[in-house]
Subunit: 335 residues, 2 copies
DNA sequence: CTGAAAGCGCTAACAC
DNA sequence: GTGTTAGCGCTTTCAG
């Protein structure tokens, strides 16, 4: 394969070939511009011949709009759920002709990513990460970047946030378990610093208390299968009797707990002990797990986030909004 | 939260505040430029005060380098493996101060994505998708975009490709199973159009034949858990006896097969029938599956891809290369 | 509807 | 080492 050298065509090249001015070429590629159909056709033909596409960088520079959205992903946490969120957001944004620039939140946190995002003139940022300094965000808001948080509430920030109603969802789980006759509970909550975990634990505790049930303790560990295994081991090491039901912070934790129970006890999940998850990832429905779980309204979450963000970008007067969506209890064999 | 209006600072603003020329500001932000330490310090201080960061769009426009890499993802296929690949690539590229622009291959195929990528002046493209028209790619290569394929061999294209040695890996799996005494085989291969599936099936058939073993058939379906379930059902419907061993196209397929076996037969996986996977996704090691599988050298694959691509971008004389890396057989209970 | 001209923010010669 | 100047490719007034 030889590598031939040929320069990329620009709008002037197209203009010359089509016998029009460079400005007309620009108009031919800007929907809504006033240009005669005849000229437009000539230009489009010339452009095709030269494989011309407008340079998005130059366009962004002059028009102050890049059609790029940054997505900031939490590193490695809850990969099954967030990879679906990412895929869904990507599809929605791609359909709206927006580019997605992906950022992974590294150890240092978001503070180092924001200046980089700032360099690239993105129109908006979708954050799936927590622990952000409100002042920092507001500084970028002032430069015209719109922010949206998915599944995170961040106070005092000029940004939208679209969440599952985590607290209510946790209450519903406890209610369901109590109605099935379970009396003693424990919670293996995941990462205690994540706002999702905080909200879910709050709902768990509130509901336990209001129904006069017995809480054997809330255990924090990673939002992962391994975190579930560790969490269950910590629970056993407490020396108390095991609870009737374990409410887990997400499905991966629940899978870890089930793995641990299968390996280190004789209990039958769903019969001797109830386990619930959160998210409804694919593996939750695999027959070996059959996890009763709180499904997050993933599509709705993503759709709301994207439409809200784009409408704020397109109409700068639109105010950010805070929305929450109820989860949906999916009942299988584990509880 | 009020939204104050304040303009983003540019290099001229910084220059004025620091009392130097605009060009000096540019130099202060370009490593390797000749600038006096005193001036640099003044400039950096002024920049900090104004929250200045260089505009990457303008920079890309003039220097013809965007520091952006496009990653094209296959839509929805093998999400567990490719989401890890994406995460790994992202981390590596982010560490090299490269931006990642993500594209999902939609129904129409890659042909529609390439012109969009072209607009954004990316320096390179990493493709995890197949079915590409070589001529089309070469057209973009001529504009100075470097291409790399991960886990795909595409002939007649001026691009690198870094693959697991899929054919050899499949042969190794069959060899391992044969050495354990298995005589009759079937293969539930995944998507027959994917080059990975084609290579693995070729290795499977070659090894079966060379060892004089019995192949009950190769079945194609999706590279998913459901595809595995379907594949196993098709196998049963053939009416023949079931094989001693089923070689699956990837771990998700294998998990589907195990799910189907658990639900619809009395066979014990790993005792009555051997099942193997490919990839070594997280779930492969969960105790309920304990999948014997061919681990793909994910980190090596990604590292080679990134270093190769960046070196070609940084030194335009570097030729693309074709590399393949051996897989690693991970033995668990399923076979 | 169309062309000429200005300029988005930056880098890279080029002089000094 | 530093300032001046000329564009990168585009959109957008402004005349006509």
């Amino acid at each position: 394969m030889e590598k031939m050298e040929r320069k990329k065509a620009n709008s002037l090249d197209v203009a010359k070939l089509a016998g029009v001015s460079q400005a007309s070429v620009s108009r031919a590629f800007s929907p809504g511009s006033s240009i005669s159909p005849a000229n437009k056709e000539k230009i489009l033909k010339a452009a095709k011949q030269l494989n011309y596409v407008p340079n998005a960088m130059a366009r962004a520079l002059i028009s102050n709009q890049s059609n790029c959205i940054a997505i900031v992903q939490p590193i490695a946490s809850n990969p099954y759920f967030y990879s679906k969120v990412l895929q869904e957001l990507l599809n929605l944004l791609q359909a709206e002709n927006q580019r997605v620039v992906l950022f992974s939140q590294d150890d240092k946190g978001v503070d180092d990513i924001l200046p980089i995002i700032d360099q690239y003139q993105v129109d908006g940022v979708i954050m799936a990460s927590a622990n952000i300094d409100a002042k920092l965000i507001n500084q970028y808001v002032n430069r015209g970047i719109e922010f949206s948080f998915i599944n995170r509430h961040v106070p005092n920030v000029y940004a939208s946030s679209i969440c599952t109603d985590n607290k209510q969802a946790a209450k519903d789980i406890v209610k369901y378990l109590a109605n099935k006759g379970h009396k003693t509970f424990a919670c293996i909550a995941g990462d205690g610093k994540a706002s999702t975990a905080i909200d879910r634990v709050a709902g768990y505790r509130e509901q336990i208390e209001s129904m006069g049930l017995c809480d054997l303790g809330v255990i924090y560990d990673a939002f992962s299968v391994e975190g579930g295994v560790n969490g269950f081991n910590k629970l056993k090491e407490q020396g108390k009797a095991l609870p009737d039901a374990i409410v887990c912070g997400n499905d991966e934790v629940a899978i870890g707990v089930i793995n641990a129970i299968t390996q280190s006890t004789k209990l039958i999940v769903g019969k001797d002990i109830a386990i619930t998850g959160f998210d409804d990832i694919d593996a939750a429905s695999w027959p070996t797990y059959g996890l009763t779980t709180m499904r997050q309204p993933l599509k709705a979450l993503c759709e709301l986030t994207v439409t809200d963000l784009l409408s704020r970008i397109r109409n700068q007067d639109t105010e950010p909004s805070q929305k929450s969506i109820p989860g949906e209890l999916v009942i299988r064999q584990s509880a």
